[in-house]
Assembly symmetry: none
Homo-oligomer: 189 residues x 4
């Protein structure tokens, strides 16, 4: 009994050009305005090929997120020993994105995708390095005594990202204020 089947297997080229087109169109036009037909057209691919492998628009975005196709940015945070300054480094990456109107729209769009599609929601904060990078750095801060034991590091990570997102939704954003928030939350204890 062989699980080998006749015929061609999944086309890597198609997958590549679909995700490529998805990422490009998403960045250019946002999540609303992103259409399966548009992706198929841009990717030179039949619609069915998309529907065959992804259940929804959101799943495409989630894959782009996982493969880092939406941001050029590296969200990894160094450990220089200075907790606050390291976290500000991470924050700076986020703020650099939303400083640019397109970047701001991109982040909002991504949040919009996450509200509609759980798969995107799952990837959202991860793809911005909250768990792997920010929370990880905070954990080190707990270990080396810069933060009290029992600090809810994941929550703190979500809170910092969340403050930025909430302000982005209100189309108001003030980098210096964001940094004050970080210093307030982490500092002066």
């Amino acid at each position: 009994m062989s699980d080998h089947r006749a015929g061609p297997t999944r086309s890597a080229a198609a997958r590549e050009s679909i995700l490529d087109a998805t990422a490009r169109l998403f960045r250019e036009q946002g999540y609303d305005h992103l259409t399966i037909e548009g992706i198929a057209r841009a990717a030179g691919v039949g619609k069915q090929t998309i529907y065959r492998w992804w259940p929804s628009r959101g799943a495409l975005i989630a894959d782009c997120l996982i493969e880092g196709r939406l941001f050029d940015v590296d969200f990894d945070v160094p450990n220089t020993g200075e907790l606050v300054s390291d976290v500000e480094t991470w924050l700076g990456r986020i703020l650099a994105i939303i400083e640019n109107p397109d970047g701001s729209a991109l982040l909002r769009s991504l949040v919009g995708a996450a509200t509609e599609d759980a798969a995107v929601g799952d990837q959202l904060s991860a793809s911005l390095g909250v768990e792997r990078s920010l929370a990880e750095r905070l954990s080190i801060g707990v270990t080396d005594g810069q933060l009290p034991a029992g600090t809810p590091v994941e929550q703190v990570g979500d809170a910092i990202l969340g403050a930025v997102i909430v302000q982005s939704l209100s189309r108001r954003s003030d980098p210096e204020e964001s940094r004050r928030l970080v210093r307030f939350i982490l500092g002066a204890r």
Copy 2:
């Protein structure tokens, strides 16, 4: 000295039934799936009557938000003197909403609307009482010495709400963890 024009005036009944239908359909089906045609049908109104007075779906939602048609909840926060417990009261109202799956979807939907429409974004945190209620209470905390001078109260409000939102987008939410966050941010100084 009247600058009003002759002719028929805006129908209050139409406005009412449109916002009513909007709020109902939004709560039942979410922002995606909310259509102008559906609203018009449910409100017994011509589409043009909607387009005449609101520029977009989002503007309808923003109006619903302003008039408190989406949440039954009162986000006003008492001042008992106990800062942390008062903030937890506010947080509890939010958590009560998203404890229920429908409520969680409602909040996410609202965030989705905010990503697409600036008018909703403008109202989002306000309608959840962040400025008027939470940040106000924090300000009192600064005044009475429970918080250090220079505390960025608006930022802190956004951060607390933002943490909840980020977790809601990831479809993970832990009320007790959220409360720990509040106690961590505000407390033990």
Copy 3:
């Protein structure tokens, strides 16, 4: 026994500007594309003022026809004694209209109006001078022996006009052929 009513009477200025706008828009855009709202706008008049006095778009056109607001042409035919040449004079007026593409469209449009509205149909051939002018001239031809007794003059008039109309509907028209038709029908007996 007063059947008088108080208040203002029908505004001659409104009537004038409505028919004016109707004729202009009809000539510029044709019967399809002619809208009550467009007329009201162009005439600087409320829609209700139109609906108050005319039951339909067609009735407006019929009034324009009656008052000769659609054609600059005079369809009266001289009696020079030469029947065929007099009829060709009349025909020449019609052909001069449809020689111009706009005039051709105007005639077609008028026919279109007549198909939808009996009031226009009633005026159509009359407004082109078929009864008063062409058929009248043919009658004289019967009297003076240029046409046989019993000639169905109205029918002949309709036939000549009808041939032009049918060809206009097919977007083919040949003035010389039309004149041959007249000479064939009337001549050489």
Copy 4:
């Protein structure tokens, strides 16, 4: 036995049911009142399928005309040798249609369609057998000497049809008078 299914090639079933619905609705309700949405609904077809293959309402009518879906009547004319009587046979078919109020409205409606759409105009007289049947019979009349050489047969055909149409637009029609016209034009030379 065809188990034909829809597919990437044009669906014959859709075409058929669209033209079917068009012809039915046109006969029932006339050209004004004929809507693409109504046709789509009646045909059980998406609007886009209509727009994909026909540029306008008129093009649908033109196709119905070409395929003889609007008249049950056969406009072919026999050649019995008696020219006038043969032409009266043809005329009788037309008169039979407009004797009935619905038929009269149908003809008027068709004329209305022709005024708005060149494609219908192209087909109008052809579909009533003017060229293929009436003018052809007249040509034979020229050949066999019943009509003088040089008779403008096409024009005469248009004139006879045109007379009927003009009278139909005026909502006056007298079969006997129409026959007198034919006898006058063709006869007694």
